[in-house]
């Protein structure tokens, strides 16, 4: 530690820190633009010039290392003169369009100009003009003349997003920020550049000219999308969400949010919003009041319960629902005598049900990811499924950690990966067994007898050996299972082996939570094996169709592991009650639509993947007749005479369901009593399906976010095959093929992808283009069938857009 004096205040600061850091510690504000605590030092804007005693000229605080005994003056005559000089230069070329600038009112340049700028400019020559650039649907660069070349956006791309999509071309007066030949910025974190831009050069395209910043009310909220639970600031105007920006929480999302978190709000104001309860009568949908709608539902459920038995009632909910909603849903179901409730809609292996120590979770605090030095990431479309967790892993790798991947697809993670085992889905378990076996011999540790017996037969390949070697060299090992691994038909065994691998390295093992409330849903008891009334899991409810389904935010053709099976069950049911924020496909098969609200219009709680319960309040009032689902469930509970449904607030529901915010004892990944049986399963004819859920198709809200739907990541999925498979079929990239699974087929554009293992076909799930197909895993048939219906043309491969030939 060293001592430094800033404006007469003595501060103790770390060796190697800068004057800027020390000033922050002392609570002294130094004006700046290019400096950002999360980005590398650039020192190009010169706004932070300060006077340092014994230095011959002013020095930039952001790039000057603090030295013991240094005396710094940030507001001395010399410092202020330097700062004012810099300000005058910055304003020379800056347009005076603050009155129509979206950044007006929240602009760093505007604020600093108030303090250091002159009232009038001495500059009479021509101003620089920079032509607008087209960089995609999310970021507007229509006023690049406002740019002051701080390069925060460029450094963000290089250092945080991991891909340099913006850069500064040319030099001196001609320097300008642009993308490579007007290519679009496709990073899933790109929106953060808008927050970072200290002027109005990069602004939000969807928000453009919607409101002035001072007209907005700001409400804290939590992202309803991925498992991280990013903290949001929801900005509202006239009872409408008009913008979402990041709220800082160092332990969760730092100061970033993904584009999904940021731009999905457009879905909140979608014209597809369901605004009134609707009942289907004689094949026609009619709008009704809440009372008759709920009476109808209650009567229907009562009838089915008394005629066919309560076990014929089933409830499916997405883990994007709040804790309170899920808690009341399962309480209602159990109250009427059915245990058929599940949130694990895309899961296919339920053999660990009741055998896991607690709610499957990350196995460590999110912030600890940065400290890990070895990663084994199993079955994860990491960047697209968990944009910000991927970012943390990227930072760790940058600081020397090694990333090892076991997966069925080789998407670019935008970070160095030391070892990759890209294998067909049915070899996943075998590969983990190999890694475990190699690791055991590396560490010269004996495995538990049962495990030892199971892995004895496998032959260790070079790839597995290399991964084991990398892992054995680590002090802080993290074994992380992604969505793909959780949805795998052998998920329980994969979990078991992953746990063993982590145990051998004295590391930690966890699940990258699929959705905002995956952990919360488990804790709420929205699983068939919780509580005293037990029932069927999500797969059983479809394979043995029930007479009545309660859907909470579920779109079965998009949210389920096997949409074919799901739709058959829905169509055959006597009654389907869809509690949804949107008028969706349920219009075809449901009997009642109950308009419930999205996260922005209700209070609730999400428990993120590290087991952090984060409660939030509604940012705006419910739209029209839509109501929070917990209130709807409360009334249903009362109508059905289930006791204990007299809550006044969502907080009361949470208090009953969650008791305490310390959840440590309720989380647990340890699986006991599952047998390991390493046989490649489903090794029949045909190709094995590899399915991802495209980032902007993952939940109901983001599916209706119009700007996100125009991005490259939202392009209609194509079927990807290894080049050799294409040859066998006699087709080339860009051709249309017939993709068949189960009883249906769809037409998709085919795309060669030699990173895929031969014998597999990558076909995305969760997208309308593939919704007619069957299970996310299993065999799939591809033929050169002809159809008059052509698929739409754009498709994307691992973040790169490919145009159809």
């Amino acid at each position: 530690m060293i001592n430094i004096e800033i404006d007469g205040k003595l501060v103790e600061t770390e060796q190697g820190s800068t004057v800027m850091d020390a000033a922050h510690k002392a609570g002294v504000y130094i004006p700046h633009f290019c400096y950002h605590k999360k980005l590398s030092i650039s020192a190009n804007c010169r706004m932070c010039l300060v006077e340092v005693e014994k230095a011959p000229k002013p020095l930039p605080a952001c790039a000057t290392p603090a030295a013991d005994g240094m005396k710094v003056h940030t507001h001395s005559e010399l410092a202020v003169k330097a700062q004012k000089g810099v300000m005058e230069f910055l304003l020379i070329n800056h347009p005076l369009d603050c009155p129509i600038c979206d950044q007006g009112g929240e602009c760093q340049l505007q604020d600093v100009a108030m303090g250091y700028g002159g009232g009038e400019s001495r500059y009479t020559e021509e101003k620089r003009v920079v032509s607008p650039k087209q960089i995609g649907e999310l970021i507007s660069t229509n006023e690049m003349s406002r740019c002051i070349q701080c390069t925060r956006c460029v450094r963000f791309g290089q250092e945080i997003a991991g891909i340099m999509e913006l850069g500064m071309a040319n030099r001196t007066e001609h320097a300008q920020i642009m993308s490579f030949v007007n290519s679009s910025v496709d990073s899933e974190l790109s929106g953060n550049m808008i927050d970072l831009c200290p002027v109005g050069a990069l602004t939000s395209k969807p928000f453009r000219y919607t409101a002035r910043s001072w007209e907005l009310s700001r409400r804290k909220s939590v992202s309803p999308h991925d498992g991280l639970g990013s903290n949001l600031a929801v900005h509202t105007k006239d009872n409408k969400v008009v913008r979402v920006v990041a709220a800082e929480n160092e332990a969760v999302n730092e100061c970033w949010i993904s584009d999904k978190d940021r731009f999905s709000y457009e879905g909140l104001n979608s014209p597809e919003r369901l605004t009134r309860p609707m009942i289907k009568q004689d094949g026609k949908w009619i709008e009704v009041d809440w009372a008759p709608a709920l009476e109808y539902v209650a009567n229907g459920l009562r009838q089915i319960a008394s005629n066919a038995g309560a076990e014929h009632i089933a409830a499916l909910a997405t883990p994007h629902s709040t804790f309170e909603e899920l808690y009341l849903l399962q309480k209602l179901l159990r109250g009427i005598g059915s245990g058929n409730v599940d949130y694990r809609l895309r899961q296919s292996d339920f053999s660990a049900d009741g055998k896991q120590a607690g709610a499957p979770w990350l196995g460590m605090p999110v912030a600890d990811i940065n400290a890990a030095d070895r990663f084994l990431i199993v079955g994860s479309f990491l960047r697209k499924d968990h944009p910000l967790l991927a970012q943390r892993i990227r930072q760790a790798v940058k600081h020397g950690a090694q990333a090892n991947i076991v997966h069925a697809a080789d998407d670019d993670l935008l970070m160095p990966v030391v070892n990759k085992a890209i294998i067909a889905p049915n070899e996943l378990l075998n590969m983990l067994a190999q890694v475990l076996k190699a690791l055991a011999s590396e560490k010269q540790t004996a495995l538990p007898a049962a495990v030892q017996q199971a892995v004895a037969a496998v032959t260790v390949t070079a790839a597995a050996g290399a991964i084991a070697q990398s892992l054995s060299g680590g002090q802080q090992v993290a074994v992380l299972l992604g969505n793909f691994a959780q949805q795998h038909p052998q998920a329980a065994q994969i979990g078991l082996l992953a746990e063993q691998i982590a145990a051998l390295c004295a590391g930690r093992f966890g699940y990258l939570g699929e959705a905002a409330n995956s952990v919360g849903a488990y804790l709420a008891g929205a699983v068939p094996f919780a509580g005293d009334v037990q029932g069927m899991n999500a797969a059983q409810m479809l394979s043995e169709p029930r007479k009545a389904y309660l859907l909470l935010n579920v779109e079965p053709e998009l949210d389920m592991h096997n949409p074919q099976l799901a739709m058959n069950a829905m169509r055959a049911a006597d009654m389907v009650v869809a509690m949804s924020a949107y008028k969706h496909h349920a219009m075809d098969y449901a009997d009642v639509l109950l308009p419930v609200v999205p996260f922005s219009e209700t209070s609730g709680t999400f428990v993120n993947t590290e087991g952090r319960a984060q409660s939030f309040k509604g940012a705006v009032k419910p739209l029209a007749e839509a109501r929070p689902a917990w209130k709807v469930l409360r009334v249903l509970g009362n109508l059905l005479d289930v006791s204990g449904f007299d809550y006044d607030t969502s907080e009361a529901v949470r208090a009953e369901g969650l008791h305490t915010l310390s959840l440590d004892d309720k989380l647990g990944n340890r699986i006991a009593g599952v047998e390991i049986n390493i046989t490649a399963d489903g090794n029949g004819a045909g190709l094995q399906r590899v399915s991802d859920v495209p980032i902007y198709s993952a939940d109901a809200l983001v599916r209706r976010a119009v700007s996100l739907q125009k991005t490259t990541d939202a392009a209609v999925p194509c079927v990807m095959l290894h080049g050799s498979e294409l040859q066998k079929l006699g087709v080339v990239s860009g051709d249309t093929v017939k993709v068949s699974q189960g009883e249906a087929s769809v037409q998709l554009t085919v795309q060669a992808n030699n990173q895929l293992p031969p014998g597999t076909a990558r076909v995305a799930a969760g997208h309308p283009a593939t919704a007619a197909l069957g299970a996310m895993f299993g065999t799939i048939e591809i033929t050169t069938g002809h159809s008059t219906k052509q698929p739409e043309n754009a498709c994307q491969v691992a973040g790169h857009s490919v145009e159809r030939a």
């Binding site: 913006l166 850069g167 071309a169 040319n170 030099r171 490579f180």
Partner: protein
């Protein structure tokens, strides 16, 4: 695609740098491209980026920063006249004017037959020979007078 020759040249250059610092060779790589093709297209920049494992944009930054890279076809022979201070004091304006008349083109233009391109350049670090220009960035011609320019042009015309 980069030609085999360019790839070979870049590979030779790469030996000068640590294996994880391949981008160090970007300036040389762009030079090799220009030597062969006379200019550097954005496709070439992409190819260089792929070859060196860099972002396209990072290559474009370098290519647009240094004035010696031709970002459009500049003819068989590119004449780059220094117009920085020392050269201007010694008559660079006259050099430019004479070249414009002789070639019938302005700065940044190429003659119709594609033989000559004329560019304005930054200081070549040879102010003692001002005024001066370079031919294809390789040959430096200093202490220019109109007669000397005519002589050089005649010589270039022949080759």
């Amino acid at each position: 695609m980069l030609s085999a020759h360019i790839q070979e040249q870049i590979n030779r250059e790469l030996k000068k740098y640590p294996v994880d610092q391949k981008q160090s060779a970007v300036m040389s790589a762009l030079r090799f491209v220009q030597d062969e093709k006379g200019w550097i297209s954005t496709d070439d920049m992409s190819d260089v980026a792929d070859f060196l494992g860099m972002a396209n944009m990072a290559v474009l930054e370098v290519a647009t920063f240094y004035h010696m890279y031709n970002l459009k076809p500049m003819g068989k022979t590119t004449i780059t006249v220094c117009t920085n201070l020392s050269c201007t004091l010694c008559g660079a304006e006259e050099t430019v004017a004479h070249l414009k008349v002789r070639l019938g083109i302005g700065l940044g233009e190429v003659t119709a037959d594609g033989k000559f391109g004329l560019r304005e350049g930054e200081c070549m670090g040879a102010c003692k020979d001002a005024p001066l220009f370079t031919i294809n960035n390789k040959r430096l011609c200093g202490r220019l007078s109109n007669e000397k320019i005519d002589q050089i042009l005649a010589e270039l015309d022949k080759s």
